[in-house]
């Protein structure tokens, strides 16, 4: 066994998320790479929560269909997921809660309720029972959990710590004593593995913002972007950042624009609905040439939609956000590491081009944890020093909107004696006064448009290609958080004898027409993969390059694309028979 999928499910409001994250951290501590995925309804109580963690000694980017160990805190967990169980799957449940329907799994009845009752422990402590037995199954020493409990419950007092330890030890011992035959020995502690950190896409954005010297962050809570706000707020006194939870999203973005005008790096964040309220101000940043990083984490829309689920349905809206014509850069990382790397780049780009840069995420990326070698981030941090482009602290005869060849005029930090200027939302002359003159207008439009040319020549990065495109018949084209599932699918397809390559776009807008078109017009079977119903990136590719990718895997049920869905699609006989390069418009709707 190279991968192990652990899953827990239970009622909303009873700590499934904390338990899942603890398991991810423990697995990482004992040396494994993890990827996880938390599903919850948009309710504080009353719904069903689940948490999948996959672990492997090699980096892993997506969960798998088969569950190896399922911890059922309630009946729903078992019933909803039994189609993912095999005869080798281990299921832990409490007979006092429910009787599972017929199956051929390795069933372990563990008396959660009794253990809690006998120890006068509260319901939430179930979670440490779950962790205790899980560690035992994986043959990891109890000590790791002991430390984790110490760390997690430190601020709840000694007696809470002690009780949690006791309960979890009981569960651990219960497995060792009664079900030693189920214990798995394939995942020993990896002593020599690199130290790793566990972080979500949102964590990555937040810490990268700190790394990039962002000094002000403004937001209004909105799933799935809210944890950026709370993480940055929690660290504010340490980092010195000012974090403002404003009255609405319009205030949010204008607060950030005000700070940016003053000369500090600033960012704001939301999801589609909140971002929609900001688009007038995005346009303002465009004409007034104010640097701004906007974190935009998609969830399935339209409107309130499915608040706690995932989709890539806002791409075209984001790309075209704001009235009028102005330069804008949209970056869409594929995993937390890329989120970190592209976020620090985004702050540089915003300063460099003095225009809004949007970091586009989605619930799947924003809230799924991945383990990353700490060293990789350390190296990244060490290599990075903020490049603020043409930000200047002194000037003479200063002209804010000077008409320069690359379109980027020097930007003076306000307050410098002897000078003054406006940051102007009206069309303006080079010296920043309002104008309605036709000639001045054209000068400024051309100047702003030239920034896009400069970006394409200087900072646009081509998509990364995974697999050998020359040797591959099948080429996946995708962007953003689909990366993980596609990478894992490529591995599986290799085993099945398919040669595939994967063109992974992160610099999704603007695109360099000629360079991109060349990549997409080879004699290959291209498959566009998107987590939306309209193939929005495909449309954008067509708009910007003329290339029309006709074979598409589109999923829009509010769930991310799964590895097996891609594998099955390619592996299906219907696909194999269509050997010609031109395949008629075929859209797969996966749920």
């Amino acid at each position: 066994m190279s991968h192990f999928l652990w899953k827990i499910g239970g009622q909303a409001g009873f700590g499934v998320m904390t338990t899942g994250l603890s398991f991810s951290k423990i697995a990482t501590k004992v040396g494994y790479y993890i990827f996880d995925c938390f599903e919850y309804p948009s309710l504080i109580r009353g719904g069903h929560n689940t948490y999948d963690v996959i672990l492997s000694s090699d980096p892993v980017h997506a969960i798998q269909h088969e569950i190896n160990l399922l911890v059922c805190l309630n009946k729903e967990t078992f019933e909803l997921h039994k189609h993912r169980l095999t005869k080798d799957s281990i299921v832990i449940y409490d007979e006092n809660s429910f009787t599972p329907s017929e199956n051929n799994c390795k069933m372990i009845h563990l008396p959660f309720k009794t253990m809690l009752f006998e120890n006068k422990a509260s319901m939430v402590m179930e979670n440490n029972i779950a962790l205790g037995c899980s560690l035992a199954i994986l043959n990891w020493p109890y000590q790791v959990l002991d430390e984790m409990i110490e760390q997690t419950f430190a601020d709840k007092g000694a007696s809470v710590v002690a009780l949690n330890k006791k309960i979890s030890k009981l569960a651990y011992d219960f497995i060792v004593k009664n079900h030693s035959s189920f214990i798995i020995h394939d995942f020993p502690i990896l002593k020599k593995s690199e130290p790793k950190v566990v972080l979500t896409g949102n964590d990555a954005f937040a810490y990268a913002a700190i790394a990039a010297d962002c000094r002000l962050y403004a937001a209004y809570p909105m799933t799935p972007s809210s944890t950026v706000l709370t993480t940055l707020a929690a660290n504010a006194q340490k980092t010195g950042m000012v974090v403002r939870h404003a009255e609405d999203e319009i205030s949010v973005i204008n607060t950030a624009l005000g700070a940016s005008t003053a000369g500090v790096r600033a960012a704001c964040g939301s999801s589609g609905g909140g971002f929609a309220l900001m688009v007038e101000s995005v346009s303002f940043a465009g004409i007034a040439e104010i640097p701004l990083v906007i974190f935009m984490s998609q969830r399935p829309g339209p409107a309130t939609g499915l608040p706690s689920w995932t989709e890539q349905g806002d791409l075209l809206f984001t790309v075209h956000a704001g009235h009028g014509e102005f330069p804008k850069i949209v970056l869409a990382p594929g995993d937390p590491y890329e989120m970190y790397a592209l976020t620090v780049k985004a702050f540089d780009l915003a300063d460099y081009y003095q225009t809004p840069v949007i970091v586009l995420s989605d619930k799947h990326l924003s809230e799924s944890n991945m383990s990353i070698n700490h060293l990789d981030l350390k190296l990244l941090n060490r290599a990075y020093s903020p490049d603020s482009g043409k930000l200047i602290w002194k000037a003479n005869h200063y002209q804010r909107y000077a008409d320069v060849p690359d379109g980027i005029s020097p930007r003076l930090v306000p307050g410098y004696p002897g000078q003054f200027y406006q940051v102007n939302s009206y069309e303006h002359t080079v010296d920043s006064h309002t104008t309605e003159d036709a000639q001045e207008r054209v000068i400024q439009v051309n100047k702003r448009n030239r920034k896009t040319q400069t970006y394409l020549a200087k900072h646009f990065a081509m998509p990364e290609i995974f697999g050998d495109i020359n040797k591959s018949e099948i080429v996946f084209v995708s962007w953003g958080s689909n990366k993980g599932a596609i990478l894992e699918a490529q591995k599986k397809l290799t085993h099945k004898g398919f040669k595939t390559a994967f063109i992974h776009f992160t610099h999704v807008f603007p695109l360099n027409e000629s360079r991109i078109a060349a990549l997409l017009t080879l004699k290959k079977r291209y498959i566009l993969i998107e987590n939306n119903s309209q193939g929005q990136f495909g449309k954008l590719l067509r708009e910007q390059t003329g290339v029309n990718l006709k074979v598409k895997i589109l999923k829009y049920s509010g769930r991310q694309i799964h590895v097996e869905e891609i594998v099955n699609y390619v592996n299906a006989p219907s696909f194999a028979t269509k050997r010609s390069n031109v395949i008629s418009n075929e859209v797969r709707n996966l749920r």
């Binding site: 972080l199 000094r215 002000l216 340490k238 204008n254 700070a259 003053a262 307050g415 406006q422 102007n424």
Partner: protein, 288 residues
């Protein structure tokens, strides 16, 4: 803050395009004088302008400035202040801007006691868009957008500010120049959220709230008025709504820490000037 008066002419930018007789002329001149008397120069202050006839002052008043979006002058001012709290920050905007489009920001900025001074040109119309009724217009007011008379009762800016946490609330009148200047200066010196609501006749579109109207409906707050008494202040403020009387002067003022003064992050240096945080590796170590 500097205290040697500076020459106010240095604030003079383009010639105003306001209509002859408009209350904005006086306000524009008073602001320059007030700034000069406080010792400022165009490089030492920051102004966030609204969009409107009032906001058009952006080209007439020299200063580091933002001429942002209609209704959003307040949050940009807050953002600027948080980033560089050593620079005095003014908002100059219309009543449509501050109380209509931007009403929510006004309300919440007051709660936050952000150290900004808001100068509202209260002319009861949307001047720049040719005279539709603004939030402070009287019930029954006839305008292009309300040809059969406005149905809403007027918004009360000062009651709004005072009841929701402002620490300085004053009212001036475009033709009471000396008092207006002193109000603006006091508002700027005040640490925390300050508003000076200025009654400003729009001679072109508003034929109700005229100079004559305000001459007869305004009165100076008596010397005995205690600006620390919130309840009395509210009562005075409400007169605009209840009996169409407009007190002039400082209705309310209390000392409270401004928003930025409550942020330990800003205790030593401005956000703009402090050292970059670099202890990233240790922060990340917590993610294990």
């Amino acid at each position: 803050m500097k205290t040697i008066p500076s020459k106010y002419e240095q604030f003079t930018g383009y010639s105003p395009t306001w209509c002859p007789g408009c209350g904005n002329w006086a306000i524009g001149a008073v602001i320059k004088r007030a700034l000069g008397e406080l010792g400022h120069d165009p490089s030492s202050i920051f102004v966030s302008f609204g969009i409107g006839c009032s906001g058009n002052m952006n080209d007439f008043l020299n200063a580091y400035a933002i001429h942002g979006l209609h209704g959003r002058a307040i949050p940009t001012a807050i953002g600027f202040k948080l980033a560089n709290h050593k620079m005095p920050v003014l908002v100059i905007a219309g009543d449509g801007d501050c109380f209509g489009e931007g009403g929510n920001h006004f309300l919440h900025a007051a709660r936050g006691n952000h150290d900004i001074t808001i100068i509202t040109h209260d002319n009861s119309v949307y001047g720049l868009t040719t005279g539709q009724a603004a939030p402070t217009a009287n019930k029954g007011y006839v305008s292009k957008s309300t040809p059969f008379g406005l149905i809403e009762t007027p918004l009360n800016p000062l009651a709004l500010a005072i009841s929701q946490g402002a620490t300085f609330a004053a009212q001036g009148y475009a033709s009471h120049v000396p008092q207006l200047k002193s109000l603006i200066k006091k508002a700027m010196v005040h640490k925390g959220f300050s508003i000076v609501n200025i009654l400003q006749p729009c001679v072109t579109f508003n034929h109700y709230n005229t100079y004559d109207y305000y001459d007869s409906k305004t009165y100076l707050l008596s010397k005995k008025h205690d600006p620390k008494n919130k309840q009395v202040a509210l009562k005075r403020a409400m007169e605009a709504t209840s009996i169409e009387k407009f007190p002039l002067g400082i209705l309310y003022q209390v000392k409270q820490k401004a928003f930025h003064e409550q942020l330990p992050q800003l205790a030593q240096e401005t956000l703009l000037h402090k050292e970059r945080f670099t202890e990233l590796d240790s922060l990340l170590a917590s993610l294990t």
